[in-house]
């Protein structure tokens, strides 16, 4: 039995018919081609599939599509404005916080959710906000640096 849902993704409104077992991650990746959300574990443990739902960072592998009716979703693809990448994305590049890149979209979105609530987080606050995002490549040092640099940049961008 299909369900009709309506939701906003990256500022665009979508009406979609979904299967009861379909996950938000499947809708994004398989139906809309928004491949920036990655599937790393399917059990909510790695954070690679993180997106923003009504401003909160959520693991989209754990959310059924039927449950996002009416929600406002932001994926990594939604961060660019007028062809310009977001200051936080820029900070990840410049701080060398990207290696294989598989964790990167989720990491950036978790960090963004934090910075929206807390524009000047301490190291500890950054660590707590990103505790659900695994990265096997970087050792995390540069990710913390990137979030701090991103916070600075975001202040300057108003």
């Amino acid at each position: 039995m299909k369900h009709a849902i309506e939701l906003t993704i990256n500022g665009k409104c979508y009406q979609i018919e979904v299967e009861p077992e379909e996950r938000l991650l499947d809708v994004l990746r398989d139906r809309l081609g928004l491949i920036g959300a990655k599937e790393g574990c399917s059990t909510g443990d790695c954070g690679a599939c993180t997106v923003l739902m009504n401003g909160q960072a959520v693991t989209s592998c754990m959310i059924l599509a039927v449950a996002v009716d009416g929600a406002d979703i932001t994926t990594i693809e939604g961060l660019e404005k007028d062809g310009e990448i977001h200051p936080l994305q820029k900070a990840f590049i410049e701080e060398g916080a990207v290696q294989c890149g598989y964790c990167t979209p989720g990491m950036i979105l978790s960090a963004l959710a934090l910075l929206k609530e807390n524009p000047e987080p301490s190291d500890d606050e950054i660590r707590r906000a990103l505790a659900g995002n695994l990265c096997r490549c970087t050792g995390y040092t540069r990710i913390i640096a990137a979030v701090k640099a991103g916070a600075e940049r975001m202040k300057n961008h108003g």
Binding site: C100, G101, R127, N133, C137, T138, G139
Partner: protein, 772 residues
């Protein structure tokens, strides 16, 4: 040696061009890949550790709407393949040897349908006696896992018996006499665990056949050209009919070698006539993993009262699980480096690789030297403490130097461990901190420990082609993929430096076995060293051709030419210059024709014969050294260990991209810390008990310690611009350094990894009982 200041590009930190698409979520990994008409695959894995296959019934699966095809061993050639020992098949034939061995696979319209079909396949098994302990498996009369082992083809002088698929023995000097001369003899046994590589992108591949029966495979493999060759062998096809293309890779760390999912996707694509995508779930990736093999390491070391080591003998036993895979190779390196970076005149090393019905183990970052390093460096501290010497001083008295000989009888060169040690100890204030009081509060204790590392550098062949384009840029064809380490950025720097171009004017082409020249792969920390050498030589070949034309066009009459920022000029008369773009115009439309620079590279060690019995490895070209110091806080109430800081000094010869080197050190250190403290694939009767990221605990950002990378640059004669690779050694230091720091903090020695709170509490209890 060249002066670093002379380099415009090499040695300067560069941001990675690929980061741009990665932060935007645009990089295309295997799971992001779609082809028209593509089907989705799922695999039926053996759920028995050891069983005869009586019958496989696939009819009900095939009857499901949406299912296109089912494949089993009947659809695959009966050709065994493998990297060291040809013991493997695409699908289990006749019997299964471990849980997670592929038995059948389905291609269907969706993953959900394929999954349902898998559940409908009925396999009738007859259980066979299974064996899970390598020591049991070595005993006479143990059930044979590969009864045909004797007849398997191997790339090494095979000495096999029962379930032992590799026996090797190396020796040097007179070990017996060495032990007699010793004032003390230490015997310790260490154990390491199966470690999962934990790359965030699960393994996957897309396969497609064209109308001429040519196979194309897209994969996130770390050995694209080796994958091509192995696919050709496994499928009994000529290599010309097998094309393998590298996609973006979400981490590998030794877990995406040779072939794994690729032949399955290929067989499904062949039988269904459609492109097929097979991406493992995380659980499958665990169950069918190629984890770092667990080792048992028995060490015996003789020492004089003055701290000089007189002899060392080791006996290593590695559990292969159901198939030998890379375990045989890891043993080769483990025995080679069984002395550590120390001068030990009398040495013996024995290694056994043993089949069991555990999962198919293999290798990970730093191969078998990783396991060996934990044992050696732990025992160094055990000895130092018994003879009442500072562990740094004890190591200093035994440090190897150039010309000292490994147990393989290969002489060491480029030994710089004295310098990595000196730098790191100074940076972390070793002397003061060792003496400082340990107790912090009631239950917490501070400790500091160290470990040295040694690893081989340079492994077999690479090649490169450099094309100079008409706009004055260059494209580099190489078989090297970027695992995520940023090696393409550094390789572009090498080419740009040699060509006198801007780094952004050099493109490292995507790897495609149809056009990329041979490369052994992104393994063994070899990319910067071996591929870097090939690329430097090929760029030099292209430059030579450019200069010949420039000489003519500029009227330089043989005077020395230079190239920089895309221009070629006369060294003594820099105004006499021409752009590479204009030179190419001249070449393409007037004289000379297109420019292709090319080179093949096979690092030649200054040593060309192998010694010992049953030894499976080629000799090293050169060696790479490092030292780690770990600082920890131990809570004796909970057994928790908090790693506060790791100071890691590595001699990289030359840091082509210093930013990239520091990033490698940081990532490697945290992985090593995971191995030391948390990570273990728990196997019970062949079943992985924790096949998910909740129960297989990798370090999170909460665990990440402060990391102080110290990069030493002592140019290596054989390295491109003096560089050595650094991917693996960064991962070796933390386990022993942390174990030694724990001992320093609370006086207990844990010889089995990981050092979990339970193990540590147990050891603390033992100590209390002994003292009481």
């Amino acid at each position: 040696m060249d002066d670093q200041k002379a380099y415009a590009i090499v040695g300067h930190s560069m941001l990675r061009p690929d980061a741009r698409e990665k932060v935007r979520g645009r990089a295309v990994y295997v799971a992001d890949f779609r082809l028209p008409g593509m089907l989705f695959a799922r695999v039926l894995w053996s759920d028995r550790p050891h069983a005869r296959i009586l019958h496989i019934d696939t009819r009900q699966a095939l009857d499901l709407p949406g299912v296109y095809t089912v494949v089993t061993a009947d659809d695959a050639p009966n050709t065994r393949y493998g990297v060291y020992l040809k013991d493997q098949l695409i699908f289990a034939r006749g019997k299964v040897r471990h849980i997670g061995e592929p038995v059948a696979a389905v291609a269907a319209e969706s993953e959900a349908i394929a999954e349902k079909a898998i559940e409908k396949i009925v396999v009738q098994y007859e259980e066979l006696p299974a064996i899970f302990e390598p020591i049991e498996a070595m005993k006479p009369g143990a059930p044979l896992i590969h009864p045909d082992l004797e007849s398997y083809e191997a790339t090494y002088p095979k000495i096999v018996k029962g379930n032992v698929c590799l026996y090797t023995r190396l020796s040097m000097g007179d070990t017996e006499k060495g032990f007699e001369d010793a004032d003390y003899v230490f015997e310790d046994t260490f154990k390491t665990q199966p470690m999962y590589q934990g790359y965030l992108e699960p393994r996957g591949a897309v396969a497609s056949f064209d109308f001429n029966d040519k196979l194309t495979v897209w994969t996130s493999n770390q050995q694209i050209l080796v994958c091509q060759a192995e696919l050709a062998t496994a499928l009994e096809m000529p290599m010309t009919q097998v094309r393998v293309i590298g996609t973006a890779i979400g981490g590998a760390f030794g877990g995406k070698l040779k072939t794994s999912v690729e032949p399955i996707a290929a067989l499904l694509a062949k039988k269904s006539g459609r492109p097929v995508r097979l991406v493992l779930t995380r659980e499958e990736d665990f169950i069918a993993s190629r984890a770092r093999a667990p080792y048992i390491l028995r060490l015996k070391t003789g020492v004089k009262a003055n701290g000089k080591i007189t002899a060392k003998s080791v006996e290593l036993i590695a559990d292969c699980g159901g198939y030998s895979d890379h375990v045989v190779g890891t043993m080769g390196l483990a025995v080679s480096f069984s002395q550590g970076p120390y001068k030990i005149p009398n040495a013996e090393a024995k290694g056994y690789c043993v089949y069991t019905n555990n999962p198919n183990y293999s290798c990970m970052r730093a191969y078998g030297v990783h396991q060996m390093c934990f044992a050696t460096e732990s025992q160094m501290d055990i000895i130092a403490s018994k003879i009442g010497m500072d562990p740094a001083e004890f190591r200093r008295r035994n440090l190897a130097e150039d010309g000292d000989v490994l147990v393989t009888t290969q002489p060491l060169r480029s030994v710089t461990v004295d310098q990595t040690m000196a730098q790191v100890l100074k940076a972390c204030h070793w002397e003061e901190k060792r003496k400082a009081s340990k107790q912090r509060g009631v239950k917490n204790f501070y400790g500091i420990g160290m470990a040295n590392t040694i690893l081989n550098m340079g492994l077999l062949s690479s090649a490169a082609i450099v094309k100079i384009n008409e706009d004055g840029t260059a494209s580099v064809l190489t078989g090297a993929v970027d695992l995520g380490t940023g090696n393409h950025t550094a390789l572009a720097q090498i080419a740009a430096e040699e060509l006198g171009m801007k780094p952004n004017d050099v493109n490292i082409a995507a790897v495609d076995s149809d056009s990329s020249p041979y490369d052994l792969g992104q393994i063994a920390s070899r990319t910067i060293f071996d591929c870097g050498n090939a690329i430097k030589l090929a760029a030099n070949d292209a430059r030579r051709q450019l200069f010949a034309t420039a000489d003519e066009v500029l009227g330089a009459e043989g005077r020395e030419l230079r190239a920089s920022e895309g221009n070629v000029y006369v060294r003594d008369e820099p105004d006499k210059k021409i752009s590479i773009r204009d030179l190419m115009g001249y070449r393409l439309y007037f004289k000379g024709g297109p420019i292709i620079g090319r080179a093949g590279w096979l690092g030649k060690p200054g040593f060309d014969h192998l010694v010992g019995e049953g030894y499976p490895q080629p000799p090293s070209v050169t060696f790479v050294f490092g030292t780690h110091v770990a600082e920890v806080e131990v809570d004796v109430g909970t057994g928790q260990v908090k790693v506060e800081r790791i100071t890691a000094a590595h001699d990289v010869g030359r840091a082509i991209n210093p930013l990239g080197v520091a990033a490698q050190i940081e990532g490697g250190v945290v992985q090593g810390m995971g191995y030391a403290l948390y990570e273990e694939m728990q196997i019970h009767e062949g079943v992985v008990q924790n096949p998910d990221f909740l129960n297989y605990r990798m370090p999170t950002i909460l665990d990440a310690p402060e990391i102080v990378p110290i990069i030493l640059e002592i140019p290596e004669e054989y390295g491109p611009f003096g560089a050595k690779g650094i991917g693996e050694p960064t991962n070796m230091g933390p386990p022993p350094a942390i174990a030694n720091a724990i001992y320093n903090a609370v006086g207990v020695r844990v010889k089995e990894l990981p050092i979990t709170p339970e193990r540590l509490l147990h050891a603390l209890d033992d100590k209390k009982t002994r003292e009481a």
